[in-house]
Amino acid sequence: MSTTTRTPATPGAPERRTTSRSARLLGDRRLPVVVTAGLFLAMYVVGLSRYQNYGFGDSQVFLNLFIDNGYLLVAAVGATFVIMSGGIDLSVGSVIGFTTMLTAWLVQDVGLPLLLVIPISLAVGAFGGFLMGYVIHNFEIQPFIVTLAGLFLFRGLCLVISKESIAIDDSDVSSLAQTRVPLGVGDLSIGAVVALVVLAAAFYILHYTRFGRRVYAIGGNEQSALLMGLPLGGTKIAVYTMSGFCSALAGLLFMLYIQSGDPLHAVGMELDAIAAVVIGGTLLTGGSGYVLGTLFGVLVLGLIKSIIQFEGTLSSWWTKIATGVLLCAFILIQRVMTTRKKN
């Protein structure tokens, strides 16, 4: 049992013995993750050499990557599951925006305690994901179009709650947002800690449980998975439910980070999440990848933002361009790898 769970198998792609070292390296599924981790290190070293005098080397600057991108990490973890199963979820950004709006409204205008609002928001997000998964599986409509409808729906529901942004001055929220977890070399926010816990949970689920193997199997080859007797529908619906749950949780973290609800919060964040997953080395065709790669993907995107801040003269739109260029590079790497494997 433990030996089989350890290596997430890609059905239909048996390991080949190759004598050439470079060919073996290119055939290794871990290569994209290693490349991304290497890229992160290289960017960090460049940052160190350029901005050492401005305090780039502080350990807090590194920890801030987690504090400033915790919500993106949670959303990207959810997206990793969906993409690993061969689907796609475009509703992530909308669900995040809707959650900030819903929590802000419930806490601020309705006056519910935060402890009650959190489970409500998570349940709404998970239910939204469940519905999308249900429609995708039962009526065989492409995930792309169903989650696109979800994108419209949740963004619309944001506006139905309120057209204006709602600032949160609830004492529970602000005290939670200001709580810091000391680590000796610096501190982390509650949001960053939650994000790391989610990452650990996802790592365990994906690599050490039966459910995780089903996700890999369905993404690798849906027909084979079906013939093997795996519960296709249940797994698919569960994957989208998890993505909805993660998006709602990301929305809560975003709400803590920014302490307001706004109908235009997190517009386009699904693309950041997908970009993080791709840069992290998960194959968009499904069936191959590591959730740790997603962590590095998020860190690389976060580091681009920090470097642009440290640079000072570069404007924010360079973030988009740099993300696009990286996305392109990693897609091409993936492409080369998959063609190599086939030959």
């Binding site: 179009i145 529901l157 506006l159």
Partner: protein, 361 residues
């Protein structure tokens, strides 16, 4: 031909449901705005709700027509919104640099520059999809993410406003009593229909969408066809970008054409083109785009709060997709046909009549 069979032939025409939805949406307006269909002449220009629906829907129709051909080859183009922004930004920034913003030659040159940028984007998308074999969603995602950054780079993050009479014509001007953009849209649609339905091009596009490998084996240059449709789609988006920036006399790298790719895909789906590729209907797409624009207008006119616009759109997408899904029809309508048969033994013809309907529609 009996009346029922003629009726069935009508309802089974591929444009029946899109047109029916459009007509229904238009009729919904009448109780709220009694003179909804009235068109009157002011200062030699035609005004009226119908004219403004077509006017405001023009960029969407253009983008959706380009998107139809891409979807017909089994692809999708997410980058059109960014292409709209890039084209508008490039054209407006060139015009704003001129000493005489009204000079026709420099306006034409600026528009040419914008469209060349669009062609480059299309070539890039086509190259990634056809040559590199990358999934279309992902390949076009790159420009979708980076494109708005490029547009903001061109405008330096500002909203560039211009004051150019000739450029104003394409998006906000009038010609022969009608908005000029209607003529642009009509020309693009006519050229597309002629090229795809009067030449073999449409057939080739559909065959590539049906099975790219098989069509390559029978001698169709499927790679070239694919690159061509992405370029065509980008050019359509580029013209829409000119229209949008001309209508507002401004280029906004961040917001121009925001969400237009989603509306365009929606229009294509409502028009009856399958997202799986292999067949398409330009007429259906035009009607689909008009349905979306009418929906927006209707929401404004009947006094529903405008913020519910997106919820309505979402419901429309879901309903249209469910109705298009064979599995959904089999589950919902098929179940009803089965249960209806034993309950009403007199209506034996009824289930037999409805059975073939399931297959065709």
């Amino acid at each position: 031909m009996t009346t029922t069979s003629r009726w069935r032939a009508l309802t089974h025409h591929h444009l029946f449901w899109p047109v029916a939805v459009l007509v229904a949406l238009l009729l919904v307006n009448v109780p709220f705005t009694p003179d909804f269909f009235a068109i009157h002449m002011t200062n030699g220009h035609l005004y009226g709700s119908l004219v403004s629906i077509v006017l405001f829907g023009s960029p969407l129709i253009l983008v959706a027509v380009g998107m139809t051909l891409v979807i017909a080859t089994g692809g999708i183009d997410l980058s059109v919104g960014a292409v709209v922004a890039i084209t508008g930004a490039l054209t407006c920034s060139y015009i704003s640099d001129q000493a005489d913003q009204g000079a026709l030659s420099s306006v034409l040159l600026a528009m040419g520059l914008g469209l060349i940028a669009a062609v480059v984007c299309g070539l890039w998308n086509g190259f990634l999809v056809a040559r590199m074999g990358i999934q279309p969603i992902i390949a076009t995602l790159i420009i979708m993410v980076a494109g708005r950054g490029v547009a903001q780079l061109i405008t330096d993050g500002q909203i560039i406003t211009i004051n150019s009479e000739p450029y104003k014509l394409i998006g906000g001007g009038y010609w022969l009593t009608l908005p000029f953009s209607i003529f642009v849209v009509a020309a693009v649609v006519a050229v597309t229909v002629l090229l795809t339905r009067r030449t073999a091009l449409g057939l080739l596009v559909e065959s590539v969408g049906g099975n790219a490998e098989a069509s390559r084996l029978v001698g169709i240059r499927s790679m070239r066809i694919k690159i061509m449709v992405y370029v065509f789609c980008a050019v359509c988006a580029g013209i829409a970008g000119l229209m949008i920036s001309s209508n507002t006399s401004a280029a906004d790298g961040n917001n121009a054409g925001l969400w237009i790719e989603l509306d365009a895909i929606l229009a294509v789906v409502i028009g009856g083109t399958s997202l799986l590729g292999g067949r398409f209907s330009i007429g259906g797409t035009v009607i689909g785009a008009l349905v979306i624009q009418t929906l927006t207008t209707t929401i404004y006119t009947i006094g529903v709060p405008t913020q519910t616009n997106l919820v309505f759109k979402a419901v429309v997408v879901i309903v249209v997709c469910l109705l298009q899904s064979p599995k959904f029809r089999a589950k919902v309508f098929g179940a009803r046909a089965k249960t209806a048969a034993p309950a009403a033994p007199a209506a034996v013809a009824e289930p037999a009549d409805s059975a073939p309907k399931m297959e065709v529609s």
